[in-house]
Amino acid sequence: MRNNNQKVVLCLAKKEYRSDRGRSIVLTGAVAFAVMMLFSVFSFASGKLQTDMLRSARQRGAVSNTTLERATQKQYEQIQELSYIRHTGKYIQFGNVFGNRAAVVDDVAWEKIKSPAFTDIHGTYPEGKMEIMFPVRALEMMGISQPQIGMELPVAIEFSEERQEEFVFRLSGYYTEYIDTSQYGPPDVYFSQAFLDAVSDGEEWDVTLFMRQDDRVTGRQVEQKLYRDIAMRDIKQRFFGNNTSVEVAVFTMVGGFDTLFMITVVILLSAGLLIYNVQYIFYERRIREYGLLKTLGTTRKQLCAIVFWQTAVTILRGSLLGMLAGGMLVLLVLPLLLSRMYLYRIGSAAGMITFRPLFLVLSVLFVSCVAFLCSALSIRHTMNLTPVEAANYQKLEAAYTGKSVYRQKGGGFRLWQMAWRNMWRFRRRFLVSAVCLTLGLLVSLGVVMLSHGVDTANEIESVYWDMWVNSDILNTDYYDISLGSHRKNDDGTITIFPQEFLEKIQALPGIAESAVTRGGFGQVKMNEEALALFMRDYEWPWWIDWATFVTAELSGEQLAEGRNLQ
C-alpha cells in the first residue's frame, strides 16, 4: 500500500523474532527435525531399495527378469523393437565346466544383464578363440586362489553326455558372483563366440534371450504383453517373466507400490502436520499482538513482511540444521546399518548408500512450502479478525487455562462439562493434535517395522544352511546306509535320523547348530572352517551338489583330521 515503510516492519520482525527465543528454538527445531526425518527416511528407504535390488540381482546372477528359451532370430529382432523391454541379450549354454555352465553371451547380455550382478570383474570378456572367463568360485574349486590374467588353464568341457574334450585356455578375465545356486543353478564360465563357432561342427545351439523389462512392469504383465506381441515358435516355447528387482525390493520392504505410496503420504503428512501444529500453537499466542499491530495501522502487506521474514529465517536455520543432522545420519549411520543388515555374504554395497542431494532439496522444499503455507494461513486468519476479536482471542485462551473472563455464573458446573466445552471450543487444535499423535505413533511403528523387516539376517540364517542331510526312504538302497541317517529296525520298520546319528553329527567339530525336520529333511549348519576342510584339494564333478559331497565325506578320514586340528 501507499507509502509503506518497510524498514520499521523489518525491525519489528527482527525484534519480535528475537524476543521469544523459546519459540524460535522450537520452530527451528521442528523444521530441522522434519527436514532430517524426511531426508533420512527417504534416503534409508531408497538405500534399502537399492540394496535389495542389488541383492536380488546378485543372487540371480543377472539383472534381467524375463527369459525366452529356444528363441529364433526373428523373435530376437521383434523383441528388440518392444518399448517395454529395455535390453535384450543372447545367451547360449553349450555344456558344463566343473559343474558350472559353459556359456557364450553377446555384448548386451554381458554389459547390461550379467556383469551388473557381479563384482570385482578383472580383465575382459573373452574375445579370442582360446580365451576364457571364470567365476572366482569355480577357480577356487580348481585350486587357483590367485588367478592371473593371461594364465594358461587346461579345461575339460562336457558338451554332452557323450562328448567331452579338454582344451588349454588363456584366462581373459574372472569375476566374483553371488548366485544362489540352490535356486538359480551354477554360475557361468564364459567363452568367446569364436570358440563356440569353432567347436560347433555346424550344430545349432539353443539361444536363450535375457530380457530386462521396464522397472514398473510386473512379471505377469510382461508375460502377457510378450505373448500378445511375439509369435511363439511352438507350444512348448514359453516366456518366463519375473518381477523386476525394483518390484521385488519394494515388495519385500513394504508389500507393494501402493503401500509404498501410502507410506510416503503418511510420512509427508506427519512432517507437514508437525510443522503446522507447532506453528499454530505459537501463532495463537500472538494473535493479540497481531491485533494490536493491526489497530495501530499495520497493513496486510506489512504483516506479511513480518511473518514471512520470520518464517524465512526459521526455515533457513532449521533447514541448515536439518541438512547437517540428516546428512550426518545418512552418511555415517545408514551405511553401517544397511551393510550390516543385508549385504552380509552378498558382496559389498558401498556404492549403494549415497548421499542424494535431490532428496535433501526435496525435503527442504516440502518443509518450506508447508511452513510458508501455514504462515499465509495465519495471516489470513488474523486479517479476518477485527482488532477486538483478536484481543478477545486471548480471553478464550484464558478460559482454557482456567483464568476465565467469562466464568460460568453459579458455582454448579462440573469439571467434565468444562473439559467438554474446552475440547469443543478447541476442536481444531484437539483434532490436529490427535491426528499428529497418531501419525507420530504410526511413523515410529513404521520405523521399528522397517528396521526389523529390513534385518534379513534371520532369513539368511535359515535359507543358507551350510549343509543338509537328506534321508530318502524310497531310495534307501541307493543312499549310503553306513552314513546312519536311517536305520532298518529288526521288525522291518525304518527309523529316520536315529538319535545316535544326530548326536554323532552334533559332536563333530565345527558343527555350530543343527535342526531336524521330520518327514522332510534335516539340516546341518557348519562354520566355514569345517567347510574349508572338506573342500581342500578337491576337484569336484559338476553333478555332485554341495550337501551330498559334504555328507559323503562326513564319515571319511578328513573328519579325523578335523578332530586333530582341534
Binding site: 500500500m1 525484534k15 495501530l296 495501522g297 499495520t298 496486510r300 484481543a391
Partner: protein, 226 residues
C-alpha cells in the same frame, strides 16, 4: 461538521449464557474539535461504543461515519490505513507492543505510515507525560500508569484528527490524571483535534465540552451538556 457519527448502532455478543446487547440502537454525533466524555457504569457498553467509533469491531447493525466516511464499507487494509492516518487510540489495557521500547512504541504509527516525527512536538509530549527517562525502557518494565502515558504519547505524536481514549487516566493519580487531560485538551485545541474519552471520573467529565451518558447499551438523556 460532524467528525464522528453513529446511526442506530447495535452490537450483540453471543455468549454461552445467551445474547448480550452491548449496544442497543446508539445514535450519537461528535462535532469537529469537540472534547467529549462517555460515562456510564461498568458493563454499560462504553468500550464497545468506542471500538465502533474506531472501526475496531463491526456493529451487528447500524452505520458509523468517521470524517464523513462510512467505515463499514472500507476494505480491511483501507480501514487500517484510514485508521492510522485519522485516529489515535488509548486503550483500557494492553496498549503497547511488548517487543518495542517506549520510543519505538511512540513512533510506530508514524513509521508504519512512512512519516517522520515532528521533533518539537515530540519533545513537548514526552516532557508533559514525564517519559524522558523511560524512552529506552521496555513496556514490561513500566507501571500501568506509565504504560498508559506512553499510549497517550503514541496517540498524540501522529497528530490524528480524532483521538479515542478508553479511561486514559484510570491508572493515574488524580494530579497526573488532570495534567494528562490538560495535555489532551490543549493538544486538541492546538491541532484542532476531536477527542473522545471514556471516564468514570466526574471531575474529568466536567472538563469536557459534552458528555454522553450510556446505560445498558443505550444513550440516556443527553441533556447533561454544560
Amino acid at each position: 461538521m460532524k467528525v464522528l457519527e453513529t446511526r442506530n448502532v447495535r452490537k450483540i455478543y453471543h455468549t454461552p449464557s445467551g445474547e448480550v446487547h452491548a449496544l442497543d440502537g446508539v445514535s450519537i454525533s461528535v462535532e469537529d474539535g469537540q472534547f467529549v466524555a462517555i460515562i456510564g457504569s461498568s458493563g454499560s457498553g462504553k468500550t464497545t461504543l468506542l471500538n465502533m467509533l474506531g472501526g475496531l469491531d463491526n456493529p451487528t447493525d447500524g452505520v458509523v461515519f468517521v470524517r464523513g466516511e462510512d467505515i463499514g464499507r472500507l476494505k480491511v487494509d483501507e480501514l487500517t490505513v484510514f485508521r492510522r492516518r485519522n485516529i489515535g487510540f488509548v486503550f483500557q489495557n494492553y496498549n503497547l507492543v511488548p517487543v518495542l521500547n517506549v520510543y519505538e512504541n511512540i513512533m510506530l504509527p508514524l513509521q508504519l505510515d512512512g512519516r517522520g516525527p515532528d521533533e518539537r512536538f515530540f519533545e513537548q509530549i514526552i516532557d508533559t507525560l514525564k517519559l524522558r527517562e523511560k524512552l529506552d525502557s521496555m513496556p514490561h518494565m513500566l507501571s500501568g500508569g506509565q504504560q498508559q502515558r506512553v499510549a497517550i504519547a503514541r496517540a498524540l505524536s501522529a497528530k490524528p484528527a480524532v483521538i479515542l481514549a478508553d479511561e486514559p487516566t484510570g491508572n493515574l493519580d488524580s494530579v497526573t490524571g488532570m495534567e494528562v487531560v490538560g495535555l489532551l485538551k490543549s493538544s486538541a485545541s492546538l491541532l484542532h483535534q476531536t477527542i473522545v474519552v471514556v471516564t468514570h471520573n466526574e471531575e474529568i467529565a466536567q472538563m469536557t465540552d459534552h458528555i454522553i451518558r450510556i446505560e445498558d447499551g443505550k444513550v440516556r438523556g443527553g441533556k447533561d451538556e454544560e
